[in-house]
């Protein structure tokens, strides 16, 4: 009897899955998994460094050559139209792009048509989360700077 069952298990036919093709779509997402955090990092590294140095200079009253250089370049190029776009591009557009890329990398969207629910799942991936948090911090810092400047000079 025991052998009968074991023989039955040995000869058990299992469902065939040779025809599956959905992995082609997964592959695209999978191969880009690493790129999303790296691309995000590239977009936020410059604004993050500038903000950090500015903070060090203001908070600890340390003179840093880098900020003095930036200030002198800004003063000399003040009249040039394209320079006006550089500041918001570096401190707003690039961190925003980094944030969007990493949000898309972390999230999955599902629609349950039966219960009419949109279900969003967020995956925990540390590198993507760090880039996302830093991007949002830069955007908040940028807007705080704009608002404070506007209120102060008004």
């Amino acid at each position: 009897m025991e052998n009968d069952f074991e023989n039955r298990m040995e000869n058990l036919q299992t469902p065939d899955t040779d025809f599956v093709k959905h992995q082609e779509i997964f592959k695209i997402g999978l191969m880009n998994a690493r790129k999303s955090s790296r691309i995000g990092l590239v977009f936020i590294i410059i604004p993050a460094i500038v903000i950090l140095i500015a903070y060090i200079k203001l908070h600890f009253l340390l003179s840093v050559d880098f900020t003095s250089t930036i200030q002198s370049i800004t003063n000399k190029t003040e009249g040039m139209s394209y320079i006006r776009w550089l500041f918001p591009t570096v401190f707003l557009v690039m961190p925003l792009l980094a944030a969007v890329i990493n949000i898309l990398a972390l999230s999955h969207f599902y629609v349950n048509k039966k219960t009419k629910e949109l279900i969003i799942t967020i995956q925990y991936r540390l590198k993507n989360l760090i880039v996302l948090i830093v991007s949002l911090a830069i955007i908040v810092a940028f807007w705080s700077f704009i608002i404070i400047g506007y209120v102060y000079f008004k």
């Binding site: 036919q13 899955t17 997964f26 599902y110 349950n112 629910e117």
Partner: protein, 190 residues
């Protein structure tokens, strides 16, 4: 792929991670099939298989070659995923993740319904397998993993021992005890 080819590929992947696609192409169906046979669903194994390969892809840089096939490693990761799923399912039927897994995805590929239907038909054609699979789910996870690897995946005892990182004697013992329990559950169900 033989062991030598796998070792060479892994070394190349450490310099160029894009080459991981080759591992994905060769082994995805095997891992998906294994998870599918253990979980008996379509959407959940798809997500799990994707997670297995994502974990493998993110960790491949730190992978240390120990003369064990990449497929063995992938089976091990997949087994842990499935075991975790079965343990979670026993304790919490209404978790948020179960709702997510049972939902339809927002952007499905064109042949989603065809593929899903095809797999469901495969289940209907293999009644014996379905009965065994249902009975197997009632057993402890440690029996499920050895029995499914032995009889669904047709793995030898040595291979199972490598995948589960257990001694051959332990695997044989688990198989023997697991089969007895499975037979009882199977006979009770029929």
């Amino acid at each position: 792929m033989n062991l030598v080819e796998e070792k060479q590929l892994l070394q190349k992947i450490k310099e160029n991670p894009e080459l991981f696609g080759e591992i994905f192409d060769v082994y995805y169906k095997t891992i998906f099939s294994y998870i599918f046979r253990r979980v008996a669903d379509y959407d959940i194994p798809r997500d799990m298989a994707a997670d297995v390969f994502l974990k493998a892809y993110l960790k491949v840089g730190s992978f240390v070659w120990k003369n064990i096939s990449i497929l063995t490693w992938l089976y091990r990761v997949a087994t842990n995923e499935v075991n975790y799923y079965h343990r979670k399912n026993k304790s919490s039927k209404l978790s948020f993740e179960i709702f997510a897994y049972q939902s339809e995805k927002l952007f499905e590929f064109e042949d989603y319904q065809t593929e899903k239907q095809h797999l469901e038909n495969e289940f209907k054609l293999n009644e014996d397998f379905v009965k065994v699979q249902r009975s197997l789910k009632k057993l402890n996870v440690k029996y499920q993993e050895v029995i499914s690897l032995r009889y669904f995946e047709k793995k030898a005892i040595l291979e199972i021992a490598e995948i589960l990182d257990k001694k051959e004697g332990t695997v044989k013992s688990l198989l023997s005890r697991g089969l007895e329990k499975l037979k009882i559950e199977f006979n009770n169900a029929t």
